[in-house]
Symmetry: C2
Subunit: 198 residues, 2 copies
Amino acid sequence: MTDQSSARIAAQFAFLTEADRLKSVLRATKLCDGSRFENTGEHSWHVALYALVMAEHAAKPVDVSRVIKMMLIHDLVEIDAGDTPIHSAAALDPALQAAEEQTAADRIFGLLPADQAADFRALWDEFEAAETDDAIFAKSIDRVQPVISNLETGGQSWLEYNVSRDQLEHRVGGKVSRGAPALWTALKQRLDLWFNAR
Amino acid sequence: MTDQSSARIAAQFAFLTEADRLKSVLRATKLCDGSRFENTGEHSWHVALYALVMAEHAAKPVDVSRVIKMMLIHDLVEIDAGDTPIHSAAALDPALQAAEEQTAADRIFGLLPADQAADFRALWDEFEAAETDDAIFAKSIDRVQPVISNLETGGQSWLEYNVSRDQLEHRVGGKVSRGAPALWTALKQRLDLWFNAR
Ligand SMILES: [Ca+2]
């Protein structure tokens, strides 16, 4: 093994070991059985699996393999920037959050060899921009998964953050409908039932 | 939305909600910071990311997107069959373990619409058989990730199960070398250092 390939593998392992910390970032949503808060590592797995299963419901045809790669890396910045629950007050300063996430992306993707750092960063930038068909679908899937967790746990984070049906439609429904309209249609009945029963 | 598409989406959500339980299956390895045992959901994310980063080191060229899909579903059977640590005594009855995992695969993939159930099952069967280049690489990556966790935590599960350097070579090194020889070469120095210092 040359010094060059050995240094390359060392950089790749350093990135993957740093990524391990995502398993210690807690989200606002609990597991479907309500036993504990979900972490962002397992969330990233779950939304990648969601994308694989639900790709046929994308608003426009997507490259599911690219979407899955986006899902695997979409939240790595939370290692430095933390998770900002969409229903919390902190979510009201998107400019500050975006700046923190850019700095985090510089550092974390920068651990990789330069060619991979550039590839991963471009994919993350595409996800964040939410303009391509792949990214629009990825964003919608990222929003669908916690809706299911909330339905399974009796509305846990909606109760905690006092979310109304209108707020959910505005903060979540819009994004889901844009990328995967059939999924929001399918969820509406369950959502109306839950919110009407409050 | 037709009744048919509505039933299809309901089956897909049922599968994805069942998959959530993988986040409560605990493995023998701890997180890299030693804070707690890893669960199989976050492990599945981490090995998918490993595959994405390390695909260039595969023994034979692989389709990284297929390997990532394998990684996402490779351990779903543990929802029913549990995790069997490779260094534990229970790992000595592979026939019983295989039978339990087959039954689990029938039930869990069977929650999906029939076409997806067949696709996912075929991909899982391919992973288990470890005969194609994609599956051989996937198996090697599945073994590399806990080696790194062990190195980071000072050999936590090797100490717990009293693993020798020869046992590690036999149980882990063989599989890693078969699918990603450069990675085992890169790890050997760190492993020899740790085992020689015991
Ligand atoms: Ca595994």
